[in-house]
């Protein structure tokens, strides 16, 4: 079986730092952060105040179909927006419109979607609070008065796979598909699974999406209580790093077999070369100090791509700003790259941690940075943590060693993923 080459023909992104990949990279290169005081609720009495919220998020600017707004949540709005951007960027619909009528259905059957989604939120369940108040703790009354107090579409709004279902309906995509609800690595795994499906010939093109809007009170509070939230800034690998900060948004890539892209004359932005993902198996929150899982994921990705550490031109680290993750990430990079490490950067300091969308947004931005031939600096980095010694990070922009980027992503359940892409 020959393995199909997988290319990238479209990208899309939205987060606090902008509505397009180029704009977001511009904010990063300017050294400014879009992380700001939370505006969705009053945090004056709260122990934590900061996040990367999309300013003045306008549902209609993200998803034109207003009827849809009742059926989906904020996280779905950003996911659908980024997915549309990637599909439109690839010129897919215009190409399909020009097909002979009998060619359209087979084309749709060969076009899929794979989404990394942040399943589960707390705020959505508050929709039952008015009913619970009316029922005075009486479950009989709760059941009896249910339909008078709760939106009949409540369960559909709750579905973690809404972006998958609705992007399918919007673009009439009928091919292979999946929705991965695997905390922070969801978006990266969407790219890896799409790559594998295209390699195996399961589809000709797949839009891969990651989306999440985790900035809600109860979620922020939990992350704070378990010690994951930074006190004043997200400073990956810095001596003063003390936690992460949430961001929100989405990233998307249109992936195709090289044959499909060539057939429709689509401009190729880059190539997905390989990926790897493993679990450390220590439970939901624990991570190994030695970076074992991340090192194994990187080696697996290199092996998958048939590449060596020396081929990597830049590394986009997970760099979430928690001490435990940063230090073990540095250990993993030392294990794999030793003293021949390419420039390392990270982007979360500029717009926050997008959880399920983090890895795929980083991938979109890595391609944008390689296009501009720059490794952006980490502007919040002042003094490298001694425990991260040897890590090739800088506050200043540098030049990449090659057109090849390694993107790292880590999530709950000890899951570590690594992805290798090359910019055209």
């Amino acid at each position: 079986m020959t393995r199909q080459k997988v290319v990238i023909t479209g990208t899309g992104a939205v987060c606090a730092a902008g509505m397009h990949p180029q704009d977001i990279l511009g904010v990063i290169l300017a050294g400014s952060t879009a992380i700001a005081p939370i505006r969705q609720w009053d945090t004056a009495a709260w122990p934590t105040h900061l996040a990367g919220e999309i300013p003045d998020l306008n549902p209609r600017a993200l998803v034109a179909d207003r009827k849809l707004h009742k059926l989906i949540r904020r996280t779905d709005l950003v996911g659908l927006y980024a997915a549309s951007q990637a599909i439109d960027h690839s010129g897919f619909t215009a190409w399909r419109d020009a097909l002979a009528p009998e060619e359209v259905a087979p084309c749709n059957d060969r076009t899929g979607a794979i989404v990394g989604s942040g399943a589960g939120n707390f705020q959505n369940q508050y929709d039952f609070f008015p009913l619970m108040t009316a029922a005075h703790g009486d479950l009989h009354a709760f059941g009896r008065d249910l339909s008078d107090n709760v939106n009949p579409m409540w369960l559909l709004r709750t579905l973690p796979n809404n972006v998958l279902g609705h992007i399918g309906i919007q673009y009439n995509l009928k091919g292979t598909n999946a929705c991965i609800t695997n905390h922070s690595v969801g978006g990266t795994l969407a790219v890896i699974e799409a790559m594998e499906a295209l390699r195996a010939g399961e589809a000709d093109r797949i839009v891969a999406v990651g989306h999440e809007t985790p900035i809600e009170p109860q979620m922020v509070l939990y992350y704070h209580r378990v010690g994951l939230i930074a006190s004043e800034a997200l400073r990956p690998f810095d001596a003063a790093h003390d936690g992460s900060l949430f961001g929100e948004g989405a990233g998307a890539l249109m992936l195709e077999t090289a044959a499909s892209a060539a057939q429709r004359g689509a401009p190729v932005i880059g190539e997905v070369l390989g990926g790897g993902s493993v679990s450390e198996g220590l439970g939901l929150l624990a991570i190994r100090e030695d970076g074992d899982g991340l090192a194994r994921a990187i080696l697996m990705a290199l092996d998958d791509a048939g590449l060596h550490p020396a081929d990597v031109g830049m590394i986009v680290a997970h760099g979430n700003g928690t001490r435990q993750s940063d230090v073990s990430e540095a250990a993993a990079l030392r294990t794999v790259f030793g003293d021949a490490m390419p420039p390392v950067t990270g982007f979360k300091w500029a717009f926050g941690h997008l959880i399920a969308a983090a890895g795929i947004l980083d991938t979109v931005l890595a391609l944008e940075a390689l296009k501009a031939d720059v490794v952006p600096g980490i502007a919040t980095l002042r003094t490298l943590d001694d425990a991260c010694a040897g890590l090739q990070v800088s506050a200043q922009p540098r030049a990449p060693r090659s057109k090849l980027a390694l993107i790292l992503c880590r999530g709950f359940a000890g899951t570590n993923a690594a992805l290798l892409v090359r910019a055209a």
């Binding site: 579409m153 292979t176 378990v226 198996g281 939901l284």
Partner: protein, 439 residues
């Protein structure tokens, strides 16, 4: 990595279902069509339009006894840990320190976040007027309890399973509503084919029998309201069907690279031979009446297995007992199987155990493996009145006993994801080439 595609063997199975807390009991119930439906006992459902469900009964995690880990579990996680332990014991193999990185874990997990009791506490403390007072959250019990946080995370099931069983390879948790379990099995099969791992603990788990879960389905009018006859409420393909019966539980399988399973002399239930996935892209809650969507997933699964419809002897239908699903699925089976649809036996075991949502595809995958291994096809219970739009060769009244060469399991989800997996009798695998075609 070799160019030859690896075959995948099913060597262990485990189930916790509304009709049995282990494989043997569940299987007997499915053959006899003994329904797991009854009045809801987990909470006072007397005010709901639907007051029935298929609950897991008398469940105590018997094989699974880690008290410390149990604190991190919700109801569905306990089902998962138990069914997974059953599957590993059945397979007679489990991860060791030496091969932990060669084991993967792929699960279909449910969509619920906080347990209702925790939500009720938060309501009483911080939302007595109906709107949340965000400052009150700062002193709320559940909102500050890391255990509530962990139990509510979508990746918690995966975290518990990989920790408990020491799995250090590829781990993933998926959710495409009612297609989740099937999608997890397909993902697991492909992990072995790709050579990423040699063995996978794969399955699904769910429990939505709560005021919010059943409430959500009541609001959509998706569940049967036959409150006086809960054991008859689920009657897939029957002309009088009027909604599904909500179930709960877990199903797990141990998948292994074929040659490794053979080499260790493992009992092989079946080959997990093919996987197909499509999107209906029609409506969020339905497939179209002509079966478009499910047709493609079934054809892809057969092609992936190197099989043709004439080789399939049994279909475990998605068969939810809702008007539109059963009609659409029947049309799809007719379209894919043509005249063979008169021959191939079909049953929906949801007629007996209800709809296990994210666990459904995994449990029904176990059912297909058992169908092949035992040469017995469970019945489509409660079927009385023929629906001309559901013209299928249903297994009614008595289980059918014959060699099952290939079995197919359909799972279709809200959101339009269709999953189909195909299994092959182990005796028919020898003599086939790696890709599934005769060598």
């Amino acid at each position: 990595m070799t160019n030859e595609r690896r075959r995948v063997a099913i060597t262990g199975v485990g189930m916790v279902t509304p009709v049995g807390n282990d494989v043997a009991t569940t299987w007997e119930s499915l053959l006899a069509g003994r329904s797991g439906g009854g009045p809801i006992t987990l909470f006072d459902a007397s005010g709901f339009s639907t007051r029935i469900a298929a609950e897991v009964k008398g469940f105590r995690p018997i094989l699974f006894d880690d008290r410390k880990l149990l604190k991190f579990t919700n109801r569905s996680h306990r089902f998962a840990l138990e069914a997974a332990e059953q599957a590993l014991r059945d397979a007679g193999i489990r991860p060791t320190a030496a091969d932990a990185t060669r084991w993967g874990c792929a699960v279909g997990a449910g969509m619920m976040t906080a347990d209702f009791d925790d939500l009720a506490l938060t309501h009483a403390h911080g939302a007595a007027g109906g709107e949340i007072d965000t400052d009150a959250l700062l002193t709320d019990g559940p909102a500050n309890d890391p255990l509530v946080f962990c139990r509510g995370q979508a990746a918690e099931g995966l975290a518990l399973l990989t920790r408990r069983f020491g799995i250090h390879g590829y781990g993933t948790s998926v959710h495409t509503a009612c297609a989740s379990g099937g999608q997890a099995l397909g993902t697991a099969m492909k992990l072995i084919r790709r050579g990423r791992v040699d063995r996978v603990l794969a399955g699904g788990f769910d429990s939505m029998i709560s005021p919010i879960g059943i409430g959500g389905f009541c609001l959509l009018s998706a569940v049967s309201a036959d409150n006086e006859t809960p054991q008859r409420a689920s009657r897939p393909f029957d002309a009088t069907r009027n909604g599904f019966l909500l179930g709960e539980g877990a199903g797990f399988l141990v998948l292994e690279a074929w040659d490794m399973a053979r080499a260790r002399g493992a009992r092989i239930y079946a080959e997990l031979a093919g996987d197909g996935n499509s999107l209906s892209s029609y409506r969020i809650t339905d497939s179209p009446p002509n079966g478009d969507g499910p047709i493609q997933s079934m054809r892809q699964a057969l092609a992936d297995a190197g099989a043709i419809p004439a080789q399939v002897d049994y279909i475990n239908a998605h068969g939810t007992s809702t008007g539109m699903n059963d009609r659409s699925e029947s049309a799809a089976i007719r379209a894919v199987f043509g005249d063979d649809a008169d021959r191939v036996s079909v049953s929906s075991t949801k007629s007996t155990m209800g709809h296990l949502i994210a666990a459904a595809g995994a449990v029904e995958g176990v059912v297909c493996a058992l169908t092949i291994a035992r040469g017995e096809m469970p019945i489509n219970a409660n079927y009385r009145e023929r629906d001309p739009d559901c013209d299928l060769n249903l297994v009614v009244d008595e289980p059918r006993r014959q060699k099952v060469r290939m079995a197919m399991s359909n799972s279709f989800g809200f959101g339009g994801s269709n999953s189909c997996i195909v299994m092959r009798h182990p005796d028919d695998v020898d003599g086939l080439g790696a890709g599934g075609t005769p060598s």
